[in-house]
Amino acid sequence: MPRLPRKPTAPRPRGAVGAMAASLARRKAAREPRVVLTDPGGHPRTLDPSDPAAEPLLDAAERLLTAVQGRPDA
């Protein structure tokens, strides 16, 4: 089967600089708030952190994390 021509992609830094940039991007993404709700059918839905429905969830999660950090057994 003939191979299709590769789609052009945005230029990305390569080599050590590229690896460092990708690592920083991954770290930044991991620290961003993320809300995922799974319905009774098992379908996950990711909410944007700026979504009004996500706000009370983020607020409650923040309170839980703060409360746990203050506990000596945590």
Binding site: E32, P33, G42, A60, A61, L65, V68, A74
Partner: protein, 143 residues
């Protein structure tokens, strides 16, 4: 088998019968295994995953059944804000919060930032099933 050995077995079984020792050489009852209690469920969850720092068990009305009192209000707000969602996962810079609920209970746990979501969610569903006395979920597929 000699007559003496046969006689010894009969004497032993008769002595057990007379003493009313339950469960010896008898079939196990067909009743299901006893369900977990809410405090035991939390202990079990913390044994399953070292990433779980703390957690609570709530009833459908949001009443705290087990876990630290200071987490109760925030856990109730989290579950209520999720609408009809069965599972909740909120990750932030300092950690992650996971919740799963059924008709009778809601489990909310607070984890470190490096907790693996699929494993925590599986553990929650597993313990929730044990709390209900229901069927355990299938193991998650290998990544």
């Amino acid at each position: 088998m000699s007559a003496v050995i046969r006689q010894m077995a009969t004497v032993t079984s008769q002595a057990i019968l007379e003493r009313g020792t339950d469960g010896y050489s008898r079939e196990r009852s067909m009743s299901p295994a006893p369900t977990l209690t809410p405090p035991l469920a939390l202990d079990y969850l913390r044994e399953l995953s070292a990433d779980i720092r703390s957690g609570v068990v709530l009833d459908p009305a949001g009443k705290l059944l087990a876990g630290p009192q200071e987490l109760g209000d925030a856990a109730r707000d989290l579950v209520q804000a999720a609408g009809d969602a069965e599972e909740i996962h909120v990750s932030m810079a300092d950690g992650a919060v996971f919740a799963a609920r059924s008709d009778k209970h809601a489990l909310v746990v607070v984890c470190g930032r490096l907790a693996l979501p699929s494993l925590i969610r599986y553990d929650l569903r597993l313990v929730l099933a044990d709390l209900e006395g229901g069927t355990r979920p299938d193991a998650p597929a290998a990544a």
